[in-house]
Structures are given as structure tokens and as C-alpha cells.
């Protein structure tokens, strides 16, 4: 082998190995994150952590029950708005509006809305809900999160509807079904697993968001007394605990982080592995 070819082969081997190292490095980071979180968080987990209210620094015990309930409330209400709106918009994009200019504009706007920084969404929700009502509320937080959920759901619904084979649509229409009947009874059911996956991933994504809640749901030392009351949520709680100067709060931050990450990852894994067997999902 000539010197030149030896050099080329060496470069080839070094560079290709490097790409492998990079790939495994990125995965290692994930494993380190998980491992470190479990290592630090698991010691603080106990029943009280899930059932009690937070206590001041230095006091033993206490939990984050109000934040868990708050998160569930805020995310549930956000899903109540976001999922149907997103779903119906997705049906428009894939079926009724397919090929129209208006659908193109909506699709592009949905992608832009999806890319709006979450903190900006939070500010917007503050100006349209918190400011006119003169108080922070779980409701305002839900509005902010639903604005993030709508474009995600719309685009994933559209994507999975488009994957339904043409023959299946035409088959339904050929039997004399009206368009919406074909959509409701044939097309959507055929895509239901994918659509559900998109929805679960969307809900998981907004469950981890804290920035939009900072100026809307705010936080609460105590139980949230209703949708119009301000409330603590898991992500914001973690932020407050982690940035505090107290060691025992840091411990709680780890435990709360473990719970949040656990929920998000379980939702992700379930949705992708069980429902769509690793099908590709929309990005960004």
C-alpha cells in the first residue's frame, strides 16, 4: 500500500471511529443524567413526599403533594383545550384542507407557534388572562400550556392521518360514505395509534414546562383551592427548590426531579414502544 493510501485509510479509521464515539457519548449523557437523578433522588422519596405539603427549610418531613396535584390540574385543563383543538385542526390540515393554500399557511403557522419560546407564551398568557383578571391562576397556566399543545397535536395528527393508505380512503368513499363519515369511521380509526402517540408525547412535553407557568400559575405554599387559584406545579417547584440555598430543599428538588423525569420518560417510552413500535415522531 502506498504512503498516500495508508494515510487515507488511517484518516478513514480515525474519523469513522470518532463518529461512533460521539454517538455513544451522547447516549452516555442520557444514562448519566438518569443515574445521577435516581442516585440523588431516591433517598428522599417516601410516602409523605407524595402526600404532605412542603415545609420550611430545616424542618423535617414535608412533601410536594400540592405541586403534584397542581401539575395534574394544570396539565389536565390544558389537554382539555389543547387536544381537541389540535386534533380537529390536524383533521383539517390532512383531510378537508388538504392541498389548499390556506392549509399551507395554517401548517406553517402551527410550526412557527410550536417554535415560539415557552417564556414568550407565558408572557402572552399573562397579558391575556392574568392581567385582566388581576390574579394568577391555574387556569392561566393551562391556557399557556394549551397554546403549546395545540400545534404539536395538530401536526402529529396530520402526519399520522396522511399515512393512512389511499386505498382505504377511497374504499370508504366508494361505499357511498360522506367525507366526514369516512374520516370518522375509517381514516381516524386507522390512524388512532399514531394520533394517540402524538397526543401522549405532547402532553408529556407540556408537563415538563416551567417557563410558561412562572407568570401564570405562579406557585403556592398550600393546596390549590380551584382552577382560579394560583397553584404550585412540579416543574416550577423543582426550580424554586433547586435555586434555594438550603440543603434539605436541594434533596427535595432531586426527588421531585426524579418523579417528573420518571413520568415524562414513562409516557414517552409507552407511547413510542407500545403504541407505534418506534415510529418516527414529528420533531421540533
Amino acid at each position: 500500500m502506498t504512503f498516500r493510501n495508508k494515510r487515507r485509510t488511517a484518516v478513514n479509521n480515525v474519523m469513522l471511529s470518532l463518529t461512533g464515539v460521539f454517538a455513544f457519548l451522547t447516549v452516555t449523557i442520557l444514562i448519566l443524567i438518569l443515574g445521577y437523578l435516581v442516585y440523588n433522588g431516591v433517598t428522599s422519596l417516601n410516602v409523605a413526599f407524595f402526600t404532605k405539603l412542603p415545609v420550611g427549610p430545616g424542618q423535617a418531613g414535608g412533601g410536594i403533594a400540592n405541586a403534584i396535584i397542581g401539575s395534574v390540574l394544570v396539565v389536565a385543563v390544558a389537554s382539555l383545550f389543547g387536544l381537541p383543538i389540535g386534533f380537529l385542526s390536524g383533521v383539517y390540515l390532512a383531510e378537508f384542507g388538504a392541498g389548499t393554500k390556506f392549509a399551507y399557511v395554517v401548517r406553517y403557522t402551527a410550526d412557527l407557534l410550536n417554535g415560539v419560546p415557552s417564556i414568550v407564551i407565558g408572557i402572552f398568557a399573562w397579558t391575556v388572562v392574568v392581567k385582566p383578571m388581576h390574579h394568577y391562576s391555574a387556569f392561566a397556566g393551562s391556557i399557556a400550556l394549551s397554546l403549546m399543545l395545540i400545534p404539536i397535536t395538530a401536526r402529529s395528527t396530520e402526519q399520522f392521518l396522511l399515512e393512512v393508505p389511499r386505498a382505504m380512503r377511497e374504499g370508504a368513499l366508494a361505499l357511498g360514505a360522506s367525507k366526514w363519515k369516512a374520516i370518522a369511521t375509517v381514516i381516524v380509526p386507522a390512524a388512532r395509534k399514531g394520533i394517540l402517540t402524538g397526543m401522549i408525547l405532547g402532553v408529556a412535553r407540556i408537563s415538563g414546562e416551567s417557563a410558561p407557568l412562572l407568570f401564570t400559575a405562579l406557585g403556592n405554599q398550600y393546596w390549590c383551592r380551584g382552577l382560579m387559584d394560583q397553584t404550585s406545579t412540579l416543574p416550577v417547584m423543582i426550580y424554586k427548590l433547586a435555586t434555594s440555598p438550603y440543603d434539605d430543599w436541594h434533596q427535595q428538588a432531586w426527588a421531585a426531579g426524579l418523579i417528573l423525569l420518571g413520568l415524562v420518560l414513562i409516557a414517552n417510552i409507552t407511547a413510542r414502544v407500545v403504541l407505534t413500535r418506534g415510529a418516527s415522531v414529528p420533531k421540533g
Binding site: M1, R4, N5, R8, T9
Partner: protein, 261 residues
């Protein structure tokens, strides 16, 4: 081991350039080639014919070891280039010496000039003579007159036939000893096809040519030798005249006369 195929008489002018000995080839557990023995002569065109899926392209792709890039493939037996086992040589050197033109024209999304000079560049053959290399390669592929005024335009601006001749020129630019063509005309119209067939007559003065084709007319017209593949086996290999006029095997005759399948 006895060779299952006859070998055309060697004439001193055309010594064997490349030879396959007892080649078996597997995709995973599926055996795609069975004990192939064949040789390709210098300055001759050899055509490989047979129904689709018969292994002719698979065999061709072993001659420059491009099959190695597919996962789960395995080659048994020997392929010799000038008497040296190609599996023992540096793979990039083998691929420089054994050029290949593919079914569909596959120019790079670069200018015509850059397409031609890419091979010489990576192989360290450019020493301030890039323009000459480009011109002579394009001339050898009978494309120079058509493109000399737009060398720096995108190769995608060319017609399909021109793109395929560009790919031939790109292959010739590294001065290969052997040129493999894998159904090079299957995506082309009859006029473009005729141009490429004409080209082969002049190209064989410079190198050994092996062409896989699904067109028997093409094989009959351009090839000196022809091999007939069926179900992964080389059924018959002989002078083209003999294969088409007086084949020894029943299967060959059936295929030639269109009685096959």
C-alpha cells in the same frame, strides 16, 4: 474442482485480465451465487445476461467489492485481477482499478468539471493537469463536444443519456483497468442507448469491459464473450456468436429464443 463452464479459447492477444474462481456469494443465509467460474479478457467486452434476479448484477458488484458495503453479505472463492486476489489488496486501490457505471445515472450534485475530477483528486492523480484530465476523460466518453462550454454548470442540467456518459467519463478519469457497467442503458431512450453502445467499441481499446444487460440485442451487438446466468449459476459462457447461434445448453437456448418464463 471441475469447472462447470466451458471457457472460450484464449488467444494470445487477449490475455485474461480478471478471473473468478469458485465464487459463492451469500446475502445472510441466502445463497445468491453458486460456484461461479469465469474470466474476462483484456480489450474485450464481456456481457452477462439472464432474467432479472439471476445474480448477474450481484456478481458484477463483487468484482469491485462494492457488495461489501451491504450488510450481512459474504463472499467465498477467489476473484483475481492480474493474478492477484482482490480480497488481499487495499479496497480503494481495487475500486480505482475496477471502475463501475450504475443502472441509473448518478452524477454528484456538483459541476461537470468537479464530477470528473473527483476520482483523480482523491486518488492523488492531479498534478496541475486537472483541465487535461477532464478534457481527455470527456473525450473518451464522447461527451466533450456537447459539454465543453458548460463545464462549470451542474451535472443535473444534462439529459439522462449525457449524465450516463458523464458517469462513464467520471469512471474513466481514474484510468481503470476494468470497467464494469451494470445495465447502463436501462434508464435511457434508444438514441442515448445507441450512443453508449457505440462508445463501448472504442473504450475496449483502453480497458477490459464487463457489461450486465437485460437486452439480448445489446449483448449480441457489443460483446465479444457472453455469459448466461440463471438462478445464481453461470449456465454457459462462450463467444457471443456461439451463445446466440449455437448454445450448448438447453436453458440458454430457451432464454435466447424467448421460450423462457
Amino acid at each position: 474442482m471441475a469447472s462447470p463452464t466451458s471457457t472460450p479459447e484464449a488467444t494470445p492477444a487477449h490475455r485474461a485480465k480478471m478471473r473468478a474462481e469458485n465464487v459463492n456469494f451469500f446475502y445472510g443465509s441466502f445463497q445468491a451465487l453458486h460456484n461461479i467460474n469465469i474470466e474476462f479478457r483484456e480489450n474485450q467486452v464481456t456481457a452477462l445476461i439472464g432474467p432479472s434476479g439471476c445474480g448477474k448484477s450481484t456478481f458484477l458488484r463483487n468484482l469491485n467489492r462494492i457488495n461489501e458495503t451491504l450488510r450481512g453479505t459474504r463472499l467465498e472463492g477467489q476473484i483475481l485481477l492480474d493474478g492477484e486476489d482482490i480480497m488481499q489488496e487495499d479496497v480503494t486501490t481495487i475500486r480505482r482499478r475496477v471502475g463501475m457505471v450504475f443502472q441509473r445515472p448518478n452524477p454528484f450534485p456538483k459541476s461537470i468539471f468537479e464530477n470528473i475530477i473527483y476520482g483523480p483528486k482523491i486518488n492523488g492523480m492531479v498534478k496541475g493537469n486537472a483541465s487535461e484530465i477532464v478534457e481527455s476523460s470527456l473525450r473518451r466518453a464522447a461527451l466533450w463536444d456537447e459539454v465543453k462550454d458548460k463545464l462549470h454548470e451542474s451535472a443535473y442540467a444534462l439529459s439522462g443519456g449525457q449524465q450516463q456518459r458523464l458517469c462513464i467519463a467520471r469512471g474513466l478519469a481514474v484510468n481503470p483497468d476494468v470497467l464494469l457497467l451494470d445495465e447502463p442503458c436501462s434508464a435511457l431512450d434508444p438514441i442515448a442507448t445507441a450512443k453508449i453502445e457505440d462508445l463501448l467499441f472504442t473504450l475496449k481499446e483502453q480497458c477490459t469491459i464487463v457489461i450486465v444487460t437485460h437486452s439480448m440485442q445489446q449483448a449480441a451487438r457489443v460483446a465479444d464473450q457472453t455469459g448466461f446466468f440463471l438462478l445464481g449459476k453461470l449456465i454457459e459462457f462462450d463467444k457471443t456468436d456461439i451463445i446466440f447461434k449455437n448454445p450448448a445448453k438447453r436453458e440458454t437456448e430457451d432464454y435466447i429464443t424467448g421460450r423462457f418464463g
